[in-house]
Symmetry: C2
Subunit: 369 residues, 2 copies
Amino acid sequence: MPEPVPELCRRIRQNELFSHLYMERQTTIKDIAVALRLSKSTVSRALRDAPDIKIETKKAVKALAEELDYQPNKLALSLLNRQTHTIGVIIPNLDYVLSTMVKGIDEVALEAGYTVMVCQSDESFGREIVNTKRLLESLVDGFIVSVSSETKVFEHIKKIQNKKIPLVLFDRVVNHISCPSVRLDNIAGGVLATQHLVDQGYKRIAILAGPENLNISNKRMEGYLQTLKLNGLRPDKRMIIHCDFNQQYAYEATKELLAMKQPPDAIFTISDRMAIGAMLAIKEKGLQMPDDIGLVGFNNEPVTSLVSPSISSVEMYAFEMGKATAKLFIEMLNSDDTMAHQEIVIKPKLFIRESSKRIITKKDRNNSA
Amino acid sequence: MPEPVPELCRRIRQNELFSHLYMERQTTIKDIAVALRLSKSTVSRALRDAPDIKIETKKAVKALAEELDYQPNKLALSLLNRQTHTIGVIIPNLDYVLSTMVKGIDEVALEAGYTVMVCQSDESFGREIVNTKRLLESLVDGFIVSVSSETKVFEHIKKIQNKKIPLVLFDRVVNHISCPSVRLDNIAGGVLATQHLVDQGYKRIAILAGPENLNISNKRMEGYLQTLKLNGLRPDKRMIIHCDFNQQYAYEATKELLAMKQPPDAIFTISDRMAIGAMLAIKEKGLQMPDDIGLVGFNNEPVTSLVSPSISSVEMYAFEMGKATAKLFIEMLNSDDTMAHQEIVIKPKLFIRESSKRIITKKDRNNSA
DNA sequence: TTGTAAGCGTTATCAT
DNA sequence: ATGATAACGCTTACAA
């Protein structure tokens, strides 16, 4: 009997400390060791098939482990290895695009043995900061972040970097932060949509852009502006509306657009939600798509092909983007190259549908959904 | 110099073990203790404002902690307290309803100091089991679960209960499992929708029900059947279609329904996605809502008021339900009553819109969105 | 082939 | 008012 008293103390303390917990105590290595009259280290090694353990011992240990449903305690491991095998994901919301991306991230992460902790900032800067702090406290192995539309200052992100914690930005990438990232070629998206409208003969093309400080909005708009100029069309400030990613705002903005003396004959909205808002306003006004007015959205959400008329939209491959992001993140984690600055850019594709197709060409036919 | 060698060993081991990690080592209590020539315990107590620590000491400790950006290591705490302050949430997908519910869960959990780990089973039984296992390994303090549509066997859920780990079921509640739960009064939902259609004078009311083994489908259908009988309408088997929660299936099912010799003059779909699928098929057939055919959906998703005609739908208060679920869970965690079997049932409300409103009554006017 | 002991970061108990 | 120690569950260098 080498140490009977400490053992007793342990039991007592446990009862005192943990009386409020009614969960069953998990089997530990020590339980197996005591039962088999072995030391903890032997059991540990046997479990992990160390070469220097007798085969019989291994068998006995494994058999008992199985019987007692032994599961290594992740907390202890994490404390020891300083790795939680957890990725903190911060996203602004859980709309169609983001939740599809999260699905992609999840899939890859799981396969690589990582668990994902998803926090929504709800497009709020304050909540994004809180989320960052919490995930930092949770000792996640790294961050995958898409910033909120309110976020204009990036100290919380820089804090992650200062702590040398792996970070990948996705979708809503930030210029001020230098780190690996995955994003859509948003300019190309704007170009695709706008050029298509120009090709269809629309002349006064308005854009419902998102919040002004959001890169994805500005890039899509940049594509829009470039395309107008390229086709000799003069951009008109009154045709450029900044509004929240929100069908309600889009609805109202469209109403105003249509009430102008020289209303637009086409609208490019940088999200499908906004496209639906716009569509509502257009229908209310009694205008026909695509004849009176053309409409192109962004994201290629399933709903675009379900409404009538179906809405042309720019596909951004959200699921693939999510997967690519997680892959990049995991590569980064496993590489020694601390500051591998890869930027993955996904190319969008336009799906042409009824809302904007007034000229039927071969090209359109190939492109259509 | 009481122990110079162990300290050295420590540094060496750290470098060996953790050279693959380039994260900065976090400040620990020990760092502060060494710097201030105090013991770990004193620092620990000072940090937590123990009454028996000298004020100067406290000040010094706190100042240094601040300066070094000290954060208590959650892993160590969790290991000690056997509490991770983490809730495992398993959901079948991230559609509008579920993501709204998750938002509600998140909000309450965060406030109570819990972090949420969300796993999607993607409506797959296999993935649900994997998720359960992973969250169990992650030592979550408890589970909040909504089962997949494929799940017909519940051993994995029972395993959670056998381990005496707190469990709350929500939305898709399972009869075979006895535990606290939060759900919609789905029968009432079915009744609301069906009675409304009857009141509007529809006679041949079809239902697009969900998967057969899903409780929420069956309950909504039960409400439908009850209401028909109550109004002296004979249920017709051909008017009852089981199909996946999916606009595509709903679209095809509706097409078949409309192709019948005696087609329905109203359709109740138990989700809005399905309602949109149905609507597509109806429009394709050239039928007018609400005159030729009535349509009522379920969930009251924003899209219902955005399509034309807008779709009547049963509101299930998803956000509130999520909040209620998390509250119940946390209550349960803090109560000694291990098996507090509360069942919270949320009452649905019908929002009447264009797709089914062919008689305008006072009551309708009050109810409409 | 196996056991011992130290350490990951923290707190509670007991001693000083 | 402060320190020493053991413990949470695990791994590993070193000793036997």
